[in-house]
């Protein structure tokens, strides 16, 4: 158990009992969730983690074969659930983690109570008549852009740390190297993400779910979010005003509202005590 918690840099906090497991997307790590998790900490047990190869996970645990497809990442989710003996899990996945959550739920549906998907896409590349938003050459160019950016990866983060020498609290945070990862692993994660096709997996789960759709999201356009909603039995679709692909970072309050309201509706359907509203009020009062 300890090995998994260390391997995936698992962090657990909060006063509730029902676990909310937050899974980050491609390009960053669990720090992505820092603007929304405080709102749920009073009522839920918050579980954060980094996929192997991301953030502060144990890079030596990276296995090229295991993580060649999203199934390897789904196994990380299941490993974390088992290590903490979680059940009745509310899984919150951003971007590619939405499909990673679906794959985990297919394997062990009994672990999950809800799937909340922020900007999901089951396939990024167009496959007429399906429109994922990208052509294959766009993804090849993305891989090229990533390669170029990782040439200067050390400079990517270091100057920001140095510039804040007079603000030690910020400097201390930055030493955590947000989103830093091994360039080769990052590239492979990009390949596993953008070349995946999980459209047929959507019909394999029967777990209540929420699709949170951003406005003007180039990575997961609205038609793609609607496709996910149409193929996921028992899903709800919520259109956010938030633009871009990371509403939990750019518009955390709207994201918190949408998740809280969904969980309230789900709780009332199952006669559970309504959770989440208190944290929401506290965040707004700040």
């Amino acid at each position: 158990m300890k090995e998994i918690l260390k391997r995936n840099n698992v962090k657990v906090f909060g006063n509730g009992t029902q676990p909310m497991l937050f899974a980050h997307g491609f390009g960053c790590d669990q720090n992505m969730w820092r603007f929304v998790t405080p709102a749920f900490a009073d009522d839920y047990r918050i579980v954060l983690f980094d996929y192997v190869g991301s953030g502060k996970s144990d890079l030596s645990a990276y296995d090229e074969r295991r993580y060649a497809t999203l199934n390897g990442y789904a196994q990380d989710v299941l490993d974390v659930c088992h290590a903490l003996n979680l059940s009745d899990v509310i899984f919150v996945g951003h971007s590619v983690s939405s499909m990673i959550g679906v794959l985990a739920a297919i394997r062990e549906p009994s672990l999950f109570a809800q799937l909340i998907m922020v900007g999901p896409s089951p396939r990024y590349i167009n496959d007429a008549p399906y429109l994922g938003g990208f052509e294959r050459r766009d993804i090849d160019e993305l891989l090229d852009t990533m390669d170029k950016n990782y040439i200067g990866w050390a400079n990517y983060l270091a100057p920001a740390i140095m510039k804040n020498a007079d603000r030690p609290e910020l400097a201390a945070e930055l030493t955590e190297s947000f989103c830093s990862t091994d360039p080769v692993i990052a590239r492979r994660f990009a390949e596993a993400t953008f070349f995946a096709d999980n459209r047929s997996d959507l019909a394999k789960i029967d777990i209540p779910s929420l699709v949170l759709q951003c406005s003007d999201d180039i990575i997961a356009p609205t038609n793609v979010g609607e496709f996910v909603h149409q193929h996921l039995r028992g899903s709800e679709f919520h259109q956010l005003k938030a633009t871009g692909h990371c509403p939990h970072m750019s518009h955390p309050e709207e994201t918190i509202d949408a998740i809280s309201q969904y969980l309230s509706r789900a709780a009332s359907r199952h006669n559970r005590p309504v959770a989440g509203a208190r944290g929401q009020k506290e965040l707004r009062a700040e």
Binding site: R34, Y156, A160, I219
Partner: protein, 363 residues
């Protein structure tokens, strides 16, 4: 108007927290072949190629939410004509009264891009070579090593008389088959060890205080017969049980076995092999000295390189040449134990290989 900044020798642009472009200098507008009206008020994202938009959404924006600046970004912008233009970009967050804004500086990449393309191509080639190497290792481990292990095992069965008694001639043949298969196995093990060491794949070293004498005793038990068969004399000097070093006992044994095997291989019949120990403060030296033909001065350092053997070096009877990996492996192992492996040699008189390790407190 941006004053001096308008004609600065770099592109400059500011966008709001929601991504809307607030300002752009003339230099950037000219590079992009766009009018100011076509840029101001538009989302910054729209100036990027599709691949850079993905990177902007998945990397740049999250980073800017978590830290005040990002430097040396490679982004590709799109000109009004539809052409792409590669830019080196710095972005810094500036706190304004109501919300932060983001200042971006762009340097156009021309010649530099070609070099970067070259670096990326070279890295990809290296990655592919690495994958091929892994595949070869896997093949060596499973497809070659395993069947040779079987050949060796079946030789043992035949020699035990499981399939009936062997004639003296047959026994000789099977023993030669057995010896040949063991030789191939040792070559494969050398290659696997060397490749794994080089790739940093060796499991953690179990570093602890050990007494040199006990490791030597175990090593001598493995090599003693070969020394005897080669017609050499062997002696140990100054290696008392109070000499202790910090090392992984198995790895140290592997190093000493390699050195002694080499000494046996390259020392003519009637020669002498000596192991001695010298404590020199914080370091302890374990020396393996032979009376072989020695190593030419210009070859002394080369012998630690992989696949290198001294040309024309004599091989003792019954010993076969290897791949020349033993010393490369041994030096690598010594260094990973915070030690060193070095050699002094005199042509015609012999060589001394010395393993230097951290001394542990004796007692």
């Amino acid at each position: 108007m941006l004053g001096l900044l308008d004609r600065a020798p770099c592109g400059f642009l500011t966008f709001a927290e929601d991504g809307t472009v607030l300002t752009a200098n003339i230099t950037l507008l000219e590079i992009l072949e766009l009018s100011r009206d076509a840029v101001l008020g538009q989302p910054f994202e729209k100036l990027l190629t599709i691949s850079s938009r993905i990177f902007y959404q998945t990397h740049l924006l999250p980073l800017l939410k978590l830290q005040p600046a990002v430097e040396e970004l490679f982004l590709t912008l799109r000109r009004g004509s539809g052409d792409d233009v590669a830019m080196l970009t710095n972005v810094a967050k500036r706190e304004e009264a109501d919300a932060p804004v983001y200042d971006c500086v762009f340097m156009q990449l021309r010649e530099r891009r070609k070099w970067e393309d070259e670096i990326v191509r070279a890295r990809r080639t290296a990655e592919e070579a690495n994958r091929a190497n892994s595949a070869l290792l896997s093949m060596m481990s499973h497809d070659v090593r395993t069947p040779i292990g079987s050949i060796s095992g079946y030789c043992d069965l035949l020699l035990m008389g499981i399939r009936g008694e062997l004639s003296a001639e047959q026994r000789g043949d099977v023993e030669r088959m057995k010896k040949a298969s063991e030789y191939v196995l040792s070559l494969i093990d050398d290659i696997l060890s060397f490749t794994r060491l080089r790739a940093g794949e060796v499991a953690k070293f179990d570093m602890k205080t050990i007494d040199v004498e006990s490791v030597l005793a175990q090593t001598e038990a493995l090599i003693g017969l070969r020394i005897e068969q080669a017609g050499l004399s062997y002696q140990r000097e100054r290696c008392t049980s109070d000499i202790k070093v910090v090392a992984d006992p198995d790895r140290l044994q592997q190093v000493l076995l390699n050195l002694l095997t080499n000494a046996v291989k390259f020392t003519p019949k009637g020669g002498r092999v000596t192991v001695s120990c010298d404590v020199e403060g914080e370091r302890t030296l374990i020396n393996v000295t032979d009376t072989g033909r020695g190593i030419p001065a210009d070859q002394v350092e080369r012998i630690f390189e992989p696949f290198v053997q001294v040309p024309g070096s004599a091989v003792a009877a019954g010993m076969q040449r290897g791949f020349g990996l033993g010393l490369a492996i041994s030096r690598n192992l010594a260094r990973k134990m915070d030690g060193e492996l070095s050699v002094t040699s005199k042509l015609g008189e012999g060589s001394t290989f010395s393993v230097s390790l951290r001394s542990a407190e004796s007692g």
